[in-house]
Amino acid sequence: MANELSTTLNDSTQYIVIRLGTEQYGIDIKFIDNIVRMQQITRVPQVSPYWKGVINLRGEVIPVLSLRVKMGMENDSETKDTRIIIIKIDQHEPVGVMVDSVKEVVNLSAAEVERVTSAEANGYVSGVGKQDQGLISILDTELVLQDM
């Protein structure tokens, strides 16, 4: 509630900033259910290469995809910073997204985000946020999950 209130008051959105290689991406916090450490992933045969498999999240079986492979980057190499972000959009089933690391939470007002057309930047980026630490590509999370 508090988050929603502050976001509407300041006309800004909270994003979780994640890192893939050298690039920073922002995921709207409203889609994020949970962030968990890397754990054992069970491979699922005969599915698209970006699916890493399924994990056991407190008794639920949740599919995990690699954002790197999905964005056309080279395959993940697991480190101690690797995280799985559990994304849940409305009534849809939760999906885990594997990222190199999670950095921080930022507030970006609409003025700070420059919209981009989908033709640019892999098609999954809806805008670019400007902050002191550099540029943050805002992921169109819904589009990432629709495109399966």
Partner: protein
Amino acid sequence: MDVSQYLDIFLDESREHLQNLNNNVLALEQDSENMDTINEIFRAAHTLKGMAGTMGYKRMQTLTHDMENVFSEVRDGNIKVNSDMIDTLFQCLDALEGYVTTIQETSDEGDNDNEPIIKALNDCLNAKGGADEAAKEEKSEKAAPAKKAKAKKKKAEPKKSEEKAAPLKLSDEDRKGIEDAMLANRKLYLITVKVQENCLLKAARAFLVFKAIEEFGDIIAADPSTQDIEDEKFDFTFRLVVASDGEVAPMLTAIKNVSEIEDAVGVPFNGDDVSEDAGENTAAEEVAEESAEEESEAEEKKEEPAKEEKHVQTAPAPVKAAEASHSGSQSQPPAKKAAGKPAVNRTVRVDIEKLDSLMNLVSELIIAKNSLVSSATSLGNGSNQLNDHIEYLESVTTNLHESVMKVRMVPIESVVTKFPRMIRDLSKKLNKPLELYMSGEETELDRTVVDEIGDPLMHLLRNSADHGIEEPEVRAQRGKPELGSIYLDAYQDGNNVVIEVRDDGNGIDVEAVRRKAVERGVLTEEQAAAADENEIISLLFQPSFSTAKQVTDVSGRGVGLDVVKSKIESLSGEVDVKTKLGEGSTFSIRLPLTLAIIQALMVVVGNEKYAIALGSIQTIEDISPADIKTVQGREVINMRGNVIPLIRLDEVVGVESNRQPDDNMVVLIAKKGDKLAGLVVDELIGQQEIVIKSMGKYINKCKFISGATILGDGEIALIIDANALI
């Protein structure tokens, strides 16, 4: 009055009453003279009206009221049932169903007054003057002479038929007792005792009545038998033959002094009523005989007249079933105000969500138990006591799981009872005489599955009615009876339930499908020529592929079979077709008994663990690579005369096998219908009870993986669906 809290009950019960009405109106169409059916309909309509009134649904109440009026006239013999009336009644039931649905969606009955139907109902009422004669004419044409005579008789003595008590049904011993008592010249009385309808402990009251009577005389016979009375197997009335040396009046007073006894009537008894009298065939007797038939096989011999009567009426199987169930719910004839409840039914209505959460908890418990087992194993066999406890826990969880599963099982009856009505409507719409024969309605399936199979079955039945059964003229030319038969058979086969929809119609014209496939560009000419029959038939299950030459609003819009297939597959089931051109087709749906927890065989392939449902595995074999032969490029083994194709799971799942090529192989022989296949795995771990977890729609692209399960150590193993591989 705030009635919202009763809304759910209202909706549930209204649906039940409407289904009941549907069945009975259908029965009435077959046998328009059956007073039981009419009474049952009247009762259901009346209850429905009362319920709608209480809940404040005025329109629904008005419509039910008008319907009830019609039945009231029918019951009193003022108007006759005819086919227009039946149509109107069905429309009326549909309209009521519409109200219920609207109420469920919006908590309001909507503003459809259904005036045309009300008018039609009133027309039925008004028709009683002039059309009565016509209706009678029509009836007598249809009815056999005997039946006509009976109808007349019934009309002539309606009073008698209602008031005349049914003959006593007595066992041979009772009969002998009566004879002895009569020889001993004792006074015999027939006492009819009626228990109050809200009485909770009927058997206890009956016991008190017995005790009261024994003060005055001996009970020498009872109907129902004393055993049945003690078991509460009677409605509200039972009759006793008492031998006494005194008068009947003080006895009756004593009986009436027992609390919750509504009435007791005693008359002198001379043994006459214990007769096999078939002379008079009044409605009341018929009921008595019919219900007698149900209650006791032993009585059957004496019921010859009634039985013949029943056969003459040739009610088709489904209707018979409806009739039977309804006569089962009838009370004994002497209870004039019958209240249609069979012996006390000890059931509780439980919300399915509560059962789901119970089931989830059981699943969690089994996962926890599995974890405990695996940690105990890793400790080594240090403590025997620990193992004992774990074994005990295992048996308890397994039993608990089975009990919960059983609670969730419901007979498919709840789904299939609407089909006879549907086929009747289709028969009228398509102008083809059709009959639906159902068997195995009592077959049980998990509630979640039962809720989902209605639509697919409906599609298949419509398909049979529309495409399967030929036009009556064509059937006549082919020497088939004009009446097209559709069968719906359900039965359990191992861990599966099979539901078959069969018809004696035209069957699938494989060549027509082949041509169509080429026309539509689904197959090239060469592909079509090369495809075998099964491949061609499987095309029917593809989206937008309909062979109906004519598009009707029954089927033939190109949706249907593909919907059926995807629905059944989403329930982890499968659809299979057997067909013979000119003779008919059979669609079989094979469904798993349960969806949640199964016994599985854990195997290792490469370095991955997989679970395979134990139900599909026949045997496990140890095969030497030397025994493998190659037939048409496929690896097969010859086992006890069967040539069985091999499926190497390492290749299927795409991992490197950890076995040497010349090692012996572990082969699981899996069976699907009459097909066998050998699944080659690297290692067996053992049998385990697993909880099936869905993997969600995102990653569900892999056909042969039917789900996942969480192992004792928290690791996930995927479940391989052997059926999908064969």
